[in-house]
Symmetry: C3
Subunit: 140 residues, 3 copies
Amino acid sequence: MKSLTTELWMEVPARRGVVSLQGEVERLVAESGVREGLVLVNAMHITASVFINDNESGLHHDYEVWLEELAPFDPSPQRYRHNRTGEDNADAHLKRQVMGREVIVAITGGKLHLGPWEHIFYFEFDGNRRKRVLVKIIGE
Amino acid sequence: MKSLTTELWMEVPARRGVVSLQGEVERLVAESGVREGLVLVNAMHITASVFINDNESGLHHDYEVWLEELAPFDPSPQRYRHNRTGEDNADAHLKRQVMGREVIVAITGGKLHLGPWEHIFYFEFDGNRRKRVLVKIIGE
Amino acid sequence: MKSLTTELWMEVPARRGVVSLQGEVERLVAESGVREGLVLVNAMHITASVFINDNESGLHHDYEVWLEELAPFDPSPQRYRHNRTGEDNADAHLKRQVMGREVIVAITGGKLHLGPWEHIFYFEFDGNRRKRVLVKIIGE
């Protein structure tokens, strides 16, 4: 069995934002030499997501608006008990559950086995600082 | 390490619908000869989900109603910016994030290792056309 | 390839509750002898979740309140069709989809490869009975 492990550093210069991980994950799969296997891509922080969806900025805007409706930002200690700890990011912990922590993608014939519009993204919900994404590849 | 890769074609004759994948995934696990491993089952399209829950039509109706409340269908370009691209399916991209893209199921002793009520389904959110599900099995 | 398979029994003495799985999963990874691989941790029941987020009780309270807003408990057969079957737990099947069924965590150098605040939890949405979580480890 072969494996490859890499931590990617992210720094989104805003509270929220979407960043493509696709090119980097493709490069790591090629580097791993794995022909048949799986790649795990996960946020290492609990106020961010890794997800697969369309590479279309209008849709990313729609996610942003929708998540803000489902779990509004509110730094006060009234709405979210988590914010009584001195944090202001309870909403980010909720938004991340909707979008997910991780994706697993098949590797077939040495390449990411994705559908025609599948694209791997990082979604930051509490940015302006350095955070990490883990890429773990296993297979043969 | 053994592996097996199959794309299953789906065509739901309606905008939305739930289809069982259980029998087909069981058959592929048997065919793979893998005794201990993992099977990844994922939608290859970004307006559909693969999920595990109850094989009960009343519950599937409840999901349908609930998702429509959380992310209503609205083809106009006002509510969803994605629909300014000429698409009408922004709601489907949102619904799919709630239900998820993929499941990973353990294979133990040559069989799917599922709880008593776990059942693997495909959830179509923008149907009336052919789409694919990927099944990737790895193990020994 | 090495593998290890264990079912953990849970019994939450309330309808809903959050239980840490972290120590047990760490112990099983050590026992497996796997140095490089993946661990799958999934609820075997369809009214419970396994998720990764903060080990902070205020946040767990926020999840509880938020999920109750998104998918309220209502045992009557009017709101949820699933409850016409004699069940009262349709809300639990919905809540579980928001929080997810499973997590996959990388194993690197014989240890769980987690970010600084990542913690593995079980979320019960229909408790007062014994249920299971599956831990499946594969790697080398």
